[in-house]
Point group: C2
Chain length 197, copies 2
């Protein structure tokens, strides 16, 4: 560590990356999805708890089902995108702590199994992993269309039945049509968003 | 978009980045903190809601106060790090929608003001922004030490009094001591973490 990454990479990840609203008809290869997971998995989570679970929806049936559970405005985006991933939080994540945190797995498992702690930990760290997914996808040259306007309970029933995984948000992946991008909205200034102490 | 960023940048962001447990005595300059914010602010959030708020704690008094509210194991890390940022979720974020989403700000504000929606949106998107912060810090060559073991209510009272900002997690920033890094824990395989549909 020590030096910034090259300016072109900062542009691709942050400064120039935009959310498209329509998608080119180009598939996302299996190998790209696996490469994406093999980057995002390294992002830090509490005690390596890694509570996010992913359903990579790309079949015609899967896309139709997911679109039918989304807000009206999001349906055409899901149908047009080559792939939309559902990011869920697994409330049973503590069961995997012995595998994921060998040094103190049983202790951490008992800690995280406390109900209120399991839920907030899953939501916080599952969301972190969702952002690592967005950053890793952009790093690989994919565009991202994250969305939270959908019927969470319906998606859970359709895609996570028989588990304690709860959908968090969804994100279309692929190559967006540049003309479908809206003008960029302003951001809060440094002072509006925080302060030194 | 289209091509992956250079391999060295993927290493720095994901593959080689690690969490240090002790820190070199080197300050993080004002300009670096502002450059960090000017990257992370571009990460996508629901309707550009941008609910995260940041207190960049680097004074001796601030560090002592934050350390006193942390779990025993986290105290020396906070005291040793040149800076620890508190990432909070502002439940009043809808008030800023007219500024942040000019096209439909008043409509989005009314939508997000619904209490259950405000809370989950703030937590989801505030956590995404926390992950953008981690990625942006690594992109600038800083090490990150994210922690959620602290007294949230105490931190809210000490650092966010008179607001509806709720602390989410904290993250030390600086240059870590390589010898303080633990062996890396395993991650879930692609199949353990998800599936195609």
């Amino acid at each position: 560590m020590g030096s910034p990454i090259v300016a072109e990479a900062l542009d691709q990840l942050f400064r120039n990356a935009r959310t498209p609203n329509d998608w080119r008809d180009e598939p996302v290869a299996d190998g790209t999805v696996r490469a994406l997971y093999d980057l995002l998995k390294w992002g830090p989570t509490s005690a390596n708890s890694s509570p996010a679970r992913f359903v990579w929806v790309r079949s015609a049936e899967g896309k139709a089902q997911l679109a039918s559970l989304a807000m009206e405005a999001n349906r055409p985006k899901i149908l047009a995108a080559p792939l939309t991933v559902i990011i869920g939080n697994d409330l049973d994540f503590p069961e995997k702590l012995p595998q994921l945190f060998p040094a103190r797995g049983e202790m951490m498992k008992a800690w995280f199994l406390q109900p209120a702690i399991a839920e907030v930990t899953a939501m916080r760290n599952g969301s972190l992993q969702g952002a690592y997914l967005i950053m890793a996808a952009r790093a690989l040259g994919l565009d991202c269309g994250p969305m939270s306007g959908f019927d969470n309970a319906g998606v859970d029933q359709a895609f996570f039945a028989g588990t304690r995984i709860q959908s968090n948000f969804i994100c279309s992946l692929g190559h967006g049509k540049p003309e479908s991008i809206y003008p960029r909205n302003p951001r809060l200034s440094f002072e509006e968003a925080g302060r030194f102490a």
